[in-house]
Symmetry: C2
Subunit: 337 residues, 2 copies
DNA sequence: ATGAAAGCGCTAACAC
DNA sequence: GTGTTAGCGCTTTCAT
């Protein structure tokens, strides 16, 4: 019967091939000095023995892991998935692998995660957001690797950042709505204090409304982030009961905006004739639902790509690498008039 | 100014604390024999020095990484995200970390990914689907770790599996529609040959239709998987042009089903009065859009949880651990009459 | 409860 | 182009 045997090592291949372990090691690096015949013989022996390269040993000896640690709030979010996709795309050119963790929109969880990730000795760490617990911040500051914060413009950047002002994008949306003659405008978002980017968007709403001299009381807190479609719908129901004369509502994301839209449909309210809806994130649903949703494209994939190339520049020792300010774009569609 | 210094090691802590490196090592394990005073002193020194545990060294010496490798087709998919969430939830009780990779619905990419993941010496590997390239299969068979295939019932399981028959679920949907007196039924899915689970669902459609003696020509291939909402809408447009008398359409996922629904709305077709729509996956959108979507719940999170506990049983050396057959559930909603 | 010695499997550094 | 030596930072093992 089958029995447990120790997997073969480079030493085994060396023995079989009659070369030194060092030569075997060279055969597995593409750019190393080694004759074609020797390499072919070694690779063949490796295949025959069922050899699998041991990255744990390589990592320790070379003090390189080819890992880039990444934290995102949730794996099930098209925006963050796109950012990770763009990053992964860029890094795979260097055979670097992403070590992904998710924080569930919780700074305590982020702290734990960062600590765990740093133990794996990544070459760099990319975190979502610019606010962290004091301890997480210290861990990042002390880490002997590049740190990039994304999806935000940190008040005090730890290393570099690739992001935009979450307050700013909602200010733009408010400005647009005011220009279109709306004045009774509401905001649907998550509970304050957990999802900092969502809180920042809410803050941007408040600032812009005050600046226009408009009433800022139409605020619905829909629960802990992320706000689902269902929660968006429930929030819309509450909004319509508390403030039935609302003319437009800005939702913290397209998902909650779509939920809000369905609530209007169930109540026989016409969008945008009876009430207008704006979202955030340019999720696919907003471009295809009926009516389509006015939203803000934060260029999620671009954030990932630019984070990747910034990272490669830093790791290559390039000087004068700067931060990247992303410019989100307002997309006006059918859900606002 | 700041200068690059080597990060502290356990030896440094040992020196500062006046104990041996071995004792320092013990201080970081929760269950080891060590006096409270010694441990506290060591942990304090570690904190002061800014010590970060080096998992690469630990991994090599102990031949344990606490990694579980996982491949999924896409990170941006609520079903697979739920499975990963359920798995992660279960594994975190053992402090195991998921090493995640995505295949982009491509078996060649899966092969590359599996090879890369195995080099990191995971304790187990979980793959999505039961079909693989010959080489990927060989890699998995030779891997000295448990292998679990999910989201499918493999023809020849490599190790264990946690899944369901993708053909079977669509057969059930067809049976339900036929019982409800539909006969001109169509199927919208991806191109054949890439996403094997989608292909299996299409196959289940064909089998069931033949069994009922119904016409199987209403097949729309919407492009390479995954089929987006937009592609679902485009496919619906083609379906309505080619087969205007279609009574019901089954879509390979709720996302394409929603796209199809919006196409009907744009054309002024009523769902389900003029045409009925069924989806797959019980995505949130299907439970909230107007009308809500008839679908099949594959219990994605459950697949992850059960994969996790199966894995822990195997790693604990439990005997008689079996495979897990998931029983997806038909959910009848407003989009079918 | 703590320590000493050895070594996990690879590769940096140097030699030829 | 290939070999030798040493050692990355931990933890296994055995001793006290």
């Amino acid at each position: 019967m089958s029995q447990i045997r120790k997997p073969p090592t480079m030493a085994d291949i060396a023995r079989v091939t009659g070369v030194s372990p060092m030569t075997v090691s060279r055969a597995f690096k593409t750019d190393s000095l080694i004759s074609k015949e020797t390499r072919d013989a070694i690779l063949k022996a490796a295949e025959d023995l069922g050899y699998v390269f041991d990255a744990t040993a390589s990592n320790l000896r070379s003090q390189k892991t080819d890992f880039v640690a990444v934290t995102i709030p949730s794996i099930n979010n098209a925006n963050f998935a796109d950012t990770v996709g763009g990053l992964s795309e860029t890094l795979s050119a260097r055979n670097m692998q992403i070590l992904l963790g998710y924080t569930n929109y919780d700074m305590q969880e982020e702290e734990r995660l960062i600590e765990q990730l740093l133990r794996r000795k990544p070459e760099a760490i990319v975190v979502t957001g610019g606010k962290h617990t004091a301890r997480a911040r210290k861990l990042l500051e002390n880490a002997p690797i590049p740190v990039i914060e994304t999806w935000d413009v940190p008040a005090e950047p730890i290393g570099h950042f690739v992001g935009f002002s979450n307050a700013g994008v909602v200010r733009e949306m408010v400005d647009h709505l005011v220009r279109s003659d709306y004045s009774r405008i509401a905001f649907i978002g998550g509970d304050v204090g957990r999802d900092t980017r969502g809180s920042d968007r809410r803050q941007g709403f408040l600032e812009a409304m005050r600046q226009h001299g408009l009433d800022t009381s139409r605020l619905i807190a829909a629960g802990p982030p992320p706000i689902s479609m269902r929660e968006g719908a429930n929030a819309m129901a509450r909004l319509l009961e508390q403030f039935p004369d609302t003319e437009a509502v800005i939702c913290v994301s397209d998902l909650s905006a779509f939920g809000a839209l369905t609530e209007c449909q169930r109540r026989g309210l016409r969008v945008p004739e009876d009430i207008s809806i704006g979202g955030f994130g340019d999720y696919e649903i907003g471009s295809i639902c009926v009516p389509t949703l006015t939203t803000i494209d934060a260029h999620a994939r671009d954030i990932g790509r630019k984070t990747g190339s910034l990272l490669l520049d830093i790791l290559d020792g390039k000087q004068n690498v700067g931060d990247v300010l992303i410019e989100p774009q307002l997309i006006v569609r059918e859900s606002t008039r």
